[in-house]
């Protein structure tokens, strides 16, 4: 069982994380992964870059808790969850969630569960630098609350 959770300012190599979640484990039948990428357009505005702030200490605990909950709910063989902080530019990866399991259904459920809860429970905040030079904090989306609520408690 390979579990890896990281928050990093360095560039995120999403493909390496996806490869690592099943490396050396021939029991794995399926790997489902989600890679969140920075877009150059948000709410109709051109975005030049984004700064990701977080709450050091709490972030790691929150991510661990989300992953532990996934491990309790589903039969998994590996999870890698890596989130970028600091300044990112399109199309940098912001987050990767990779889940390995013997069977695909569990890997799909767990991967989506982890990203849905990360979006509402992990203390990250995005500030966008627009192409016109102005800055703004990104607003939370009610669709993210709805996605997390859909999993029940």
């Amino acid at each position: 069982m390979s579990i890896e959770i990281r928050v990093q300012a360095d560039e995120l190599d999403a493909l390496a994380e996806i490869a690592a979640v099943s490396a050396g484990d021939t029991r794995v039948g399926g790997v489902v992964s989600f890679v969140g990428l920075m877009r150059d357009l948000n709410q109709g505005d051109d975005i030049a870059s984004m700064t990701l702030e977080h709450y050091p200490g709490m972030t790691e605990k929150a991510l661990r808790k989300i992953v532990d909950e996934a491990l309790e709910r589903w039969e998994l063989l590996g999870v890698r969850l890596v989130h970028r902080v600091g300044e990112v530019r399109p199309p940098d990866p912001i987050v990767v969630v990779a889940v390995a399991a013997a069977h695909r259904g569990e890997a799909f459920r767990a991967c989506e569960f982890i990203i849905d809860f990360l979006k509402t429970r992990a203390p990250f905040w995005k500030r966008e630098l627009k192409a016109d030079g102005s800055q703004r904090w990104v607003d939370a989306r009610s669709s993210d609350d709805a996605a997390a609520a859909g999993w029940g408690d």
Binding site: G36, Y55, A62, L118, T120, P123, F124, A140
Partner: protein, 82 residues
């Protein structure tokens, strides 16, 4: 003593990333009320219609959560990671 931290847009609005208060109010609700009583941006942030989330000792908490000496309390806007 309670350590308070402010994050993201809340930190910018309050012009502070944190502070230490010497009295331990009984609960998160009481601490919010004390901060709101400062008026101005504080009043708006902690008693207005904005959604300010709270964590106690780095775990998500709510207004009913009790506080004790040595606790760390984080206030922040809804999260936008991922």
């Amino acid at each position: 003593m309670i350590r308070i931290l402010y994050f993201a847009s809340l930190r910018e609005r309050l012009g502070s990333d944190g502070e230490t208060v010497s009295d331990a109010p009984g609960s998160v609700a009481a601490l919010r009320a004390a901060l709101a009583a400062r008026g101005g941006d504080w009043q708006q942030a902690f008693a207005g219609d904005q959604r300010v989330l709270v964590a106690v000792n780095q775990e998500m908490a709510d207004d009913a959560s009790l506080l004790k000496d040595g606790d760390e309390v984080g206030f922040f806007p809804p999260v936008t990671g991922g």
